[in-house]
């Protein structure tokens, strides 16, 4: 199926959850409501017309006012691709997990949580993955301030 056909299928099946659609992008994408994520994702994976069995990539993106999760999906059965985006509020960045739909999402989501700070609701094991457990903040956010200390050690350098 082409991205256009997948979009119209989604818009038909989930009229309340599909918020936006950008067909002009290089990889056309659809934006869905956070609460609708589990239903839409399960449909995309299990419906024989779409059959997206492969979560190619999951990225967290800082859009400024909002935080965004981007899912790049692929289907081995039909060999088609699709991009789904979910936007969450910056002050309460909660997105339902996809880890129960694709097991590969478990680590992807842990990384997005660690570096961007998106809270994946329902994730079985949401811990930091790259950074130490006691790290403060999420470095890939645009407003991240570089720390001057770690564990009481000053990491600033003085040049004479």
């Amino acid at each position: 199926m082409t991205p256009e056909e997948i979009h119209s299928l989604l818009a038909e099946t989930f009229p309340d959850d599909v918020l936006a659609w950008d067909p002009s992008a290089k990889d056309p994408f659809v934006v869905i409501r956070p609460d609708g994520t589990p239903g839409v994702m399960r449909f995309l994976k299990e419906d024989p017309r779409t059959a997206f069995d492969f979560l190619d990539n999951l990225s967290g993106v800082d859009l400024g006012e909002r935080l965004c999760v981007v899912y790049h999906l692929f289907s081995f059965a039909h060999r088609h691709r699709f991009v789904v985006k979910v936007e969450a509020r910056r002050d309460d960045p909660r997105v339902p997990t996809a880890a129960l739909i694709w097991r590969g999402a478990r680590w992807f989501e842990r990384e997005a949580y660690d570096l961007i700070g998106i809270q994946f609701v329902g994730h079985p094991d949401l811990r930091r993955i790259m950074l130490p457990d006691d790290w403060e903040g999420h470095p890939l956010r645009k407003d991240y301030v570089y720390p001057t200390h770690y564990a009481g050690i000053d990491n600033r350098r003085e040049y004479d």
């Binding site: 190619d56 590969g104 790259m130």
Partner: protein
């Protein structure tokens, strides 16, 4: 027989351990020799390359992509440059495309040599590793001749490559391919059919087809599970549509499809196919087109985003780039094959012996900097 109650022991493997291929740590909960739980602890090599990508210009970030997977830097260069070129709409001269594929396939062979040699060494056969490294040195010499570096090449630039081939370089590659095609059977006689080696790998950590797809495995690990998928053939980029090669799959020839032996033998077969690709690249090389680099000033792609995935030796390497119209990317996301391969260890290591965990890590061919970035 009454069940004997034994005490569960927590074993800390790594971060500095000869078999962990970089700085990796595993927390194993074991009952005797049997692993009950395996928790990979990654991040020791996290350098926040994705953040650096937002702070550098598009061109300035190319050397950093070398460090994403330093065993196969050429392929990382290619993935990033292909993504930027697609985003900015830059045409690459044909000569550059050939040079790119030549160095990438050479690098694929050298990376697979490390993978299969280190796998043999990790399970106890030390001899094949120096043989593999000997061949890798010859590839390093070839790559050094064309770009001056032996590990982090920074050879493929946006719009082309940094240097043209030196005189006689193609003949040297051809000479390497001719001898190396005889080395592969020698390597197979040395280790691939070895009874002890086969017994160490067959039926160990089987990854069935559905599980491999569910965990987003890619590259040789995915093909070892029987999924007929290679981005070079099925989503072709660069000059791959003009080249002929087969995609080796795991057949379970010594055990079950998707076991550790399949992951090993698929890599050996891929080296043969890379030799075929190299031969065709040399035969079709466009000697009459001298351009090897497009004239590219500061790259400022129009606002937009792109996700480009390429077939690196460790599986799919994809770059998700978002541009806001300036000379710096607003987001660089790197999807690597090692990251997803690492995630699956948590599940497949359960029930194995401790010694098998080492075979699993080596057969999945994870490289720590590619996991952590």
């Amino acid at each position: 027989m009454a069940e004997i109650k034994t005490e569960e022991m927590v074993l800390n493997m790594g971060p500095h351990h000869p078999s962990t291929h970089g700085v990796l740590r595993f927390i194993l909960k074991t009952d005797g020799e049997i692993v009950h739980e395996c928790l990979p602890d990654v991040g020791y090599l996290h350098r926040s390359i994705e953040k650096i990508g937002e702070l550098m210009t598009f061109q300035g970030f190319v050397p950093y992509t070398d460090r994403v997977d330093y065993v196969a830097s050429m392929n990382s260069n290619l993935a990033y440059c292909t993504a930027v070129e697609k985003l900015a709409g830059i045409e690459v001269p044909r000569r550059a495309e050939f040079l790119r594929i030549l160095v990438c396939e050479l690098n694929r062979i050298s990376s697979h040599l490390i993978a299969v040699g280190a796998l043999a060494m990790d399970v106890g056969a030390v001899t094949p590793f120096p043989y593999a490294l000997r061949e890798r040195e010859r590839i390093n010499d070839l790559l050094e001749e064309v770009c001056g570096a032996r590990l982090t090449y920074n050879y493929i630039w946006i719009g082309g490559v940094s240097f043209d081939a030196t005189p006689g370089w193609l003949d040297k590659i051809l000479h390497f391919v001719e001898t190396f095609e005889n080395i592969i059977p020698e390597f197979n006689r040395l280790i691939s059919g070895n009874k002890i080696f086969v017994e160490r790998l067959r039926d160990v950590a089987i990854v069935p087809r559905e599980m491999a797809i569910d965990y987003s495995l890619s590259g040789p690990n995915l093909r070892a599970s029987g999924v007929d998928w290679d981005l070079r053939r099925d989503e072709p980029y660069s000059i791959y549509p003009e080249l002929e090669f087969d995609v080796p799959l795991g057949h379970g020839e010594c055990g079950t499809v998707g076991d550790s032996y399949d992951r090993f033998i698929v890599r050996v077969r891929e080296m043969e196919q890379s030799c075929r690709i190299l031969r065709q690249c040399i035969a079709k090389f466009p000697h009459d087109q001298p351009d090897f680099r497009a004239k590219v000033k500061t790259v400022k792609p129009p606002p937009g985003e792109v996700f480009v995935r390429t077939e690196a030796p460790r599986g799919e390497q994809g770059y998700y780039l978002i541009s806001d119209g300036t000379a710096k990317a607003s987001r660089v996301r790197i999807r690597t094959g090692s990251f997803t391969a690492m995630a699956i260890i948590e599940e497949i290591a359960v029930g194995c012996m401790i010694a098998d965990v080492i075979a699993i890590i080596a057969s999945l061919d994870v490289v720590a900097p590619e996991i952590d970035r």
